[in-house]
Point group: D2
Chain length 285, copies 4
């Protein structure tokens, strides 16, 4: 019998032979929400070695964009492979990576229940802080403390991550919005007419939050490590660049990157290793 | 009616508005082969702007790996998006990119008819030079001359690209094997027992070709620009590194990269922009 | 006698042995200017191989910053080594690189005669276009045509390069301002009180030029390939980011990069290889 | 009075305003050695913030090459600026970086007393472990434990770092040889005729150490995180690549990079940020 296994399989076999630790794995989990009145699914990446000891890990909350859900970073974003390689190469400290679900319940993952903010009858942000984080951090072995908790996200989830860190700078050591929707967009009516989504973004505008902040709030924002990344071809370039200008004006230290590219999974995939490195630094405190 | 188009669509629309050239497109084409006795399919990437003028383009022959085919660089390798972005960002000279089919005709794209070399009754290499290149370069607007023709490939196709450029250094300005099968591998029997494939690789071993070359052949190899890239975790590391050692010993100038990674599409995708830049340089001659 | 030559020397020797072309060289040249009433020095980088044939080369005008001169890219910027490596690695098409002198004649390279713009009695820009470019391009083997001419510069020279390309888009295929002074800065009086310099910058403000341009001028700007790069810690961040916003608003295609760093030679050194690649692309036309 | 301060100064001022921590500083220190019978100088980089608290820091021993000394990484390698930027950008955990002096005492920093290994009458390695490390770690606030100690070096110091980590894998969490002299070189007599240096390298050949190691030693080598980097144009390419082949054969996990370049400060400067990130990962344990 003639057999030819693929080279990829051979490579994988060889790699496992050398390093005797449990491989990374993905868990699809669910949390019943009293606040929302429904059960919400979420995905969890447990890094290689998680199953080999009892030690606690830092955590990254990694938020998806509009019309996506808790599986998009895995399926479209290839996040498992990217995290595996980044950790195996020794360029970041392994973390548990949690991907929540802020999709709507209409076809195409949209509608009133889409988004990271509170709306009448759908208080997603309250759910996130009061139900979701506590549940995740009790079910998985998460090291407690602001230094060991980070939040990042893309597009709508970039805006979500930024607002979450502005609302609760005591909770997050690092915040990394990628191509974030960092302001209520001036988008032609013919493209978006979901008013509830639009209103929630107007209400939770990160630039407005920063502009109206007093000295104590500004000081609290300075305790978060900010890493903002938005490509020079992105259609959300304006709100990102204006957030950069505002944060420099307010003397909130931040990292900002404008690389080549647009609003695409290629851009976010190539951003992820740097995000994993960046959030690692306070893990050593 | 409530509508929410995806952000990606919006971004695409905006980008097209600015640049008034025809977008890139993919053609799936076919060539009847007298040598092989069958028709062979191939894929062609025509860069943005190709349809807007009558000018000729440089050409890159981009070879797939074992058990893949002429669609793999497109489907698994995301090559269209990568080439689009590289060209749009102004970091490489647009080329026509031709992806041939060296798959076998057994299930899983394997069997006797797999590979880039000649076997009794299946002279693929002869087909490539005598039928395929001439057909491609008459059907598409290809600039003639060694400087404007490059060959690259991954894994089995990395070996193919290397041997093609060693056999015909007069035809190729640049050659870029990625994670190439650059020697007959010492692979345990249980993994590969396709003898015909194995024999064709033993017969067309790039290191043997170089080792046995006389001064005139060595000089001809020095007229090709070589760029070899194989990750530090790749299971084919040994034959790649030995080819590097041999070429340095023989004073054949080359570029060699060992980046982080294994035998994976992530590695080849991240290699492609550099390959497109590297092959561009002689296009200006 | 015990001798130990440095490893660096050995490496250099080995490299030269392999590639039998003349090495790059630096020429310090002088042009007598009737317009300025003085002789101006300039530096020229001739790439490896320049002395081996009679063929013409593309040209890059590479401008220095305030208080520097025609030697700064060489001495502080390490440009010769960087260009050598970029060209040897095959990632850019070799060009002649010309470094003019826009230093003032007071101590510290400042004073009234500093800068790239026209002032009463010191018409540097007129000198640049009417005397300098023609002299350079007749003394050295420069390929004629917009596609083969690029201009780049750092800080004050970034502003100079941008304004030159806006004033003469027919002359330059590419323009690459690095950390450019792209607007009259709002700088506290205690830091800059050189009024003539300030006034020349106010008069030649790239944003004003773009803002006031009519449709024909805007179309001409679209024939230049723009690459703007300014670090997220740069003190000139604001005028760079605003230029980016303005060019996107005016639908002038551009590349923009915001990498990590400030107003430093490290930043410009790491930008140079990409600039050399970027300007190469139209050389193949 | 007309004044024009350089832009660089302005940038520096602005940056300091935002971040209220003590800047990094360089200490030139001295240790009297009983073993060597002389006093040896060394340089220490204390990261920004070191003077603001009492907390302990991880430590990196960063070794210089042949004919250099404890000031070379500072003067030729620009290490202070590179470390400052890497730490400020949040891509590595700040460490104390110690640069010892293994120069000889003949003109040109060579002669019998040059090198990291023991010779009759000049037991530098014994001095390093018995006198130098203890002195450094008591004078500066160094966190104790293998995880918080790393060693790296270039060329001769790359060899030194590798042998030190092989001799004392219990002491070092990470080891990063850059363009390392990882074997006794086959170098023509006319280039090196310092026999003592040559003999010490033959005696402390990292490949011999690995080849002759028993299972327990091999296991201990696997507790060190290895990062080896040597450019494709380096004249020391062969011993580096062979070390890579040997370590893969012996199943000692390692990172290996072959980037574009030779035996040059440009190469080591561009390697340093990655080294600082790589050694940071175990600091979080």
């Amino acid at each position: 019998m003639k057999r030819l296994l693929t080279f990829t399989l051979m490579a994988a076999t060889a790699a496992v032979a050398v390093r005797a630790q449990s491989p990374s794995r993905i868990v699809t989990d669910t949390i019943p929400s009293e606040i929302l009145g429904v059960a919400k699914a979420f995905s969890v990446y447990l890094p290689a070695g998680y199953d080999d000891s009892d030690r606690d890990y830092p955590v990254l909350y990694l938020l998806h964009g509009a019309t996506d859900d808790h599986q998009s970073w895995l399926v479209k974003g290839n996040m498992r492979k990217i995290a595996d390689v980044t950790y195996l190469s020794g360029m970041a400290v392994p973390a548990v990576i949690v991907m929540p679900d802020a999709a709507g319940e209409e076809p195409g993952n949209r509608g009133y229940r889409m988004g990271y903010f509170d709306k009448p009858g759908w208080e997603y942000e309250r759910h996130f802080f009061e139900e979701f984080i506590p549940a995740v951090e009790s079910r998985y072995r998460i090291r407690s403390g602001k230094n060991y908790r980070a939040v990042a996200g893309l597009s709508m989830g970039g805006g979500g991550s930024m607002v979450y860190a502005l609302h609760r700078p005591d909770l997050f050591g690092s915040c990394c919005p990628l191509s974030g929707l960092l302001a209520a967009p001036r988008i032609p009516d013919r493209l978006i007419d979901d008013e509830a989504f639009h209103e929630s973004i107007v209400r939770d505008d990160p630039q407005a939050i920063i502009r109206e902040a007093g000295p104590a709030e500004l000081d609290s924002y300075r305790t978060v490590r900010w890493y903002i990344d938005c490509g020079d071809d992105d259609f959300l370039y304006e709100c990102n660049v204006q957030t950069y200008l505002l944060m420099r004006e307010k003397e909130i230290p931040l990292q900002y990157r404008m690389r080549d590219g647009g609003h695409s999974w290629e851009y976010w995939q190539s951003a992820l290793p740097t995000v994993l490195t960046f959030i690692s630094v306070p893990f050593a405190e």
